[in-house]
Amino acid sequence: MKTVTHTIEQKVNQQTERITGSEAVIKCLLAEGVDTLYGYPGGAIMPVYDELYKYQDQLHHVLTRHEQGATHAAQGYARISGKVGVTIATSGPGATNLITGIADAQIDSTPMICITGQVGSHLLGSDAFQETDIVGISTPVTKWNHQITKASEIPEVFAKAFYIAKSGRPGPVLIDITKDAQFEEFDFTYEKCEVIRSYKPVPKVNPDKVAEAAELINNAKKPFIVWGQGVILGEAEKELTEVIEKAGIPSAWTILGASAIPTSHPLNVGMVGMHGNYAPNKLTNECDVLIAIGMRFDDRVTGNLATYAKQAKIVHFEIDPAEVDKNVKTDVAVLGNAKESLQQLIPLLHSNSHPEWHQRFKDLYQIEFEKVIKNDLHPTKEGLTMGEVLKEINLQSKGEAAIVSDVGQHQMIACRYADFNVTKSNITSGGLGTMGFALPAAIGAKMAAPDREVVAIAGDGGYQMTIQELGTIFQTKVPVKVVVLNNDFLGMVRQWQQLFFDKRYASTELVNPDFVAIAKGYHLPAKRVTKRSELSAAVKEMMESKEAYFLEVCVEKEDNVFPMIPTGSSVSDIRLE
């Protein structure tokens, strides 16, 4: 009885106002601190768009040119800021066009809310115009999803959605709202969600496990850290640096972990994985304790699991219990948020330096430099390399730029060679490998961090998958810099065809349009570089531009990305040529 009275009192104390479901959607977004959303209008979401019109001074809606672009823009926004990205679309094709971005956000743990309109509830299941079962379709690629058929559900569902998207291991949440619920009036109040009884987003750190981890690390002769995006999502960059420096551990990163610690840090030994650096891949199979922090042992990182770090004890710091022992059996698993776990670990670590072990990394780096890096960054041949473009961008941005890469050869080159001095600076589609990600993601990133230099780097293939977002750049005047490294090929697939399919270049050669003319069609300043002598000045002009800028660099057509661990091979068998 007591609780009932309490609830009634609470209700009375809270201000309620009678508004439509559509207005409630806007009020929920404002209550959650949303300032920007990316979307595309259509029939079933029109009532919400009507409210967006009324609230345009408080909520910035960015009209992308395709719903997929809206999701990637929201992802870029989320990845650079740590905030929840928001996308809005209509029912049917509007909703299905979101799926690639949602799947991308799911596998890369990006907090995102997708709002979709739905046909009226009386029409559900009738194959009505633009009806699609988006809740069913999105289920396997969302952290949570829900269909709203009554306006009164809106505040609670939105509050839960934001809480779920952001907490623990983040992910995308889809909210589908029938058109009648958007029109319906109800008494609105909003309360943020702080707990869901069936959902425990952050496991409590077990001090015994931290102590076990510390003991293994302290006794290690050749400890090796591989960190992932968990460090960035958990804002544990400072703690990770302390761990590394105190225990003197050479540390490498996964593609999504890039930029958590500056590239120039002496203990940062580079990227692991298929096109990662030679030393950290090779020495994965020599270390005695492998400390994985906020990473999930993706197959692109491990290569053949049967020959992955078998000699080492494995310590895994991880927020998601389902990741522990999923791919690699751990000796000690420390569940919890990276920041909290590492904070507990630091005082237990002995100061150490491991100079001989470090030397191994330096020696192998030297081999990689001679065989690969030198030719990528200081080429002597006539054709331009992707690497030297990155080197030029590093120089002119002083390593302060956020690099938003697409998927393919240029992505691997960007991740290998970009200087990252600031965290949350490597925005790329890691898990899903979504071509077309870079251009819209860069738009979102620049809007979330207007003070940062944001450079999109795409290949000529991926660029054309979302090239229409140049229209969004033109309309919003968002000053992103767009670089296309054009080799007239789907370069990564071509590389595989060359190496594993006897150079049968099936459908990988592209006959490309005049990219500069297209950019100019959108009234963007644009330039094409074909010679080394023009590169530096062109990059300078781009970086100094106050407005958006398009730069096409025509690079060597058939360059390959090395080192490379062929699929199914051991990390030890990494190839340098």
Binding site: P140, H146, I164, R197, Y199, D320, A322
Partner: protein, 174 residues
């Protein structure tokens, strides 16, 4: 490769639309066939209980439990071997009523199998039997000799010998 065996998965969840899709997708995505699936209320008000039977290696079973528990609306998931549970299935047989009088043997089969006649009318009678799969299969074989008009078997339901501390978990939450 670890040997596959039959596991009974018990899942306590919130009672929400779409959860069936979310849970079955976990199996479907990994190309795992579900032997049987049952959803019902549980001993706790407002909490649903799922009983899913699958044939898997234990290592994979553990990973799938992790994936199930990761779902926002799943409260807790467990897996058990047959030895660790008390389990039953139910079947209904629809059989021509004439046979009851013409084939004396049927009456003996019913008695010996501890099956129960649910209803009888001029045309057919309905026989109900709960038990282990082997008992049900035996009864099916015996009756099929005479002709079965309709047959249906439920998914497995099971309780565990050991306690599953769901109520305490939820009490701790409240």
């Amino acid at each position: 490769m670890e040997e596959k065996q039959l596991y009974t998965v018990s899942i306590y969840t919130e009672n929400n639309i779409g959860l069936l899709n979310r849970i079955s997708a976990i199996f479907q995505r990994r190309h795992i066939n579900i032997e049987s699936i049952t959803s019902s209320v549980s001993e706790i008000e407002g909490v649903s209980r799922w009983t899913i039977v699958v044939k898997l290696a234990e290592e994979q079973m553990k990973k799938i439990i992790g994936q199930i528990e990761k779902q926002v609306e799943v409260i807790k998931a467990y897996y058990h071997t047959d030895d660790e549970t008390i389990y039953q299935e139910s079947v209904l047989f629809k059989i021509k009523s004439d046979l009851l009088f013409e084939e004396r043997q049927i009456q003996n089969i019913i008695k010996e199998s501890y099956a129960r006649i649910v209803t009888v009318n001029r045309e057919f009678f309905v026989l109900e039997k709960s038990g282990r799969r082997s008992e049900i299969e035996l009864l099916y074989r015996e009756l099929s000799a005479f002709g079965i008009m309709q047959f249906v078997r439920s998914g497995r339901i099971s309780v565990t010998k050991e306690e599953m501390k769901i109520s305490e978990m939820l009490a701790a939450f409240n």
